[in-house]
Symmetry: C2
Subunit: 352 residues, 2 copies
Amino acid sequence: MEDTGRRFAPSKLESFAVAVLTRVGVPEDNARIVAHSLLAANLRGVDTHGITRLPIYVERVQAGLTDGRAQGVVVTESETTAVVDGQNGLGQVVGTTAMRLAISKADRAGIAAVAVRNSTHYGTAAYYAMMALDHDMIGLSLTNSPSLMAPWGGKRPFFGTNPLAIAVPAGEEKPFVLDMATSVVARGAIILAAKKGEPIPPTWAMNAEGEPTTNAKEANEGGALLPLGGHKGFGLAMAIEILVATLAGGPFGPHLGELYNNPDRPQGVGHFFAAMRIDRFRPVREFKADMDAMIREVKAQPLGKGFDKIMVAGEPEYNTEAERREKGIPLSDAVVADLTKLGAGVGIPFEL
Amino acid sequence: MEDTGRRFAPSKLESFAVAVLTRVGVPEDNARIVAHSLLAANLRGVDTHGITRLPIYVERVQAGLTDGRAQGVVVTESETTAVVDGQNGLGQVVGTTAMRLAISKADRAGIAAVAVRNSTHYGTAAYYAMMALDHDMIGLSLTNSPSLMAPWGGKRPFFGTNPLAIAVPAGEEKPFVLDMATSVVARGAIILAAKKGEPIPPTWAMNAEGEPTTNAKEANEGGALLPLGGHKGFGLAMAIEILVATLAGGPFGPHLGELYNNPDRPQGVGHFFAAMRIDRFRPVREFKADMDAMIREVKAQPLGKGFDKIMVAGEPEYNTEAERREKGIPLSDAVVADLTKLGAGVGIPFEL
């Protein structure tokens, strides 16, 4: 991301987001959840899923395609499971409702899973998995997204980048937080290369004819992302689609609605959340000590050519968060312009 | 795998395996489980995890390193969870005990998870995940294995190829069965290339200096497998290691014992199994109809360059199984020689 040097206080950006969302009719509780999730992404350095998404969320609420008041309702449940209908609410609100439900069920039953249909873009998968950490649980968060990635053997986008996130508490070390798309790269990486006129590795995407391409522009226009490791990433993406769409009774792959440039219909996104109590397996203190031991040993391994350290999943994001909490969140001129325009449109000046 | 044209009836190979195992003191119930699992792998075309493993299993039972009589015992449990101590039993026996327990708990509670320590090589991960299919459940099976794969950024083997398997029933279509290692390839692929003197892609492995290599021999001698998609495969392998080792209280990565060339100590393998009732989320009939719809739609997508069909996870193995049930299982001369020698050693002639 382009960094012009302008940094903003997280709390001020968060207040701006809350003010804009409430101004367009989102209840304050819901607005706070969305704003917190967006700023958590910016703090962790995942700027693609940060406050840059606020304008499209607001646009879709204003268009009536997203129901800012919805929180999601339980349509089926047992002591360990539930299906939540997201009512086309804001994905962060629906996701938070569902993950809280999974955690509360797991608190009583040991392990629980909640599938969600009729939701919308929920930001980073990690946000929900990480909600389990303070409860000494392992958290899992999955979602689908509109078609971007070809099946292995195909050439048209079918599944989205379908990410998975898993969060595990440690002791003195930072928690293990894996959040990964099942494509080789996010589409943003290809858009960026196309803008810069740079080539891309042939493993990232194919062109409209179904051939691997190094031309970012070609990949971007009628092409498709390639799945991680070929058939493996395709298999993972489909497994995730089953859990988030088929299990909840929602649409899959090409039947989802786009987030951008889609003024006509809801998204129909699906999610899947699970939480599991560590103390049902062994004492939490012992588990955390063993997590620390594994993290330390893996980080102390001899380095490969061209590396100056080994980092475990979540570590780069925790490092970025520490730095950004102190120095603020850098926003590019383009994002500042977007937010300024957004604020002007609803009468909330972006003056931070 | 080299196919000399000699094919064997699955039932005869299975009987041979049962006879050999019982001859060295494995109780018949346990022997039948191991033999069934090995032949299931051969039928599905996963010959690396088929009857070719029988000699090393027998060798370790005879050496007292694997306890052929053990079935695994529950050391902690709740209505949705358990920890099983594998007592250094045969991995297939321990795995079957644990997955049966997960299924029986899920049958009552909706969802259940069982972590296992002190086990041994359990064959294919899919075997256990697939046990859930007949119960209209989704099955998950994870295991660790001795060090083969470098951490992303490191150069020494640390985690094993740590596979994951997930099985989901469909309606008229074959079930979805994903079984994948978290390395780019299995070590067997590199051993094979080294034997043939062929080069390998630079994405598969690194040499002892921690540089990606195209020299299979170099990769094989002091090198390490590369994780699938770099940091992503490393993250997945570590997430799996946490669930199979840390959660169960077993050793991790470099602290596991080898299967081969290790006459000194038990393996200390860990597994993790989960099962989830589909009908806790929605009617099974609707779910299966939607599975069929997704499978059919993905298979009908336009093809990429160089492909003549799109296959979903599990489909190649079901096709192979149909063919091998009819025509028998092909075994290479080397495997036949190994089995002949094994049989001669224990007084069970390999005459099929």
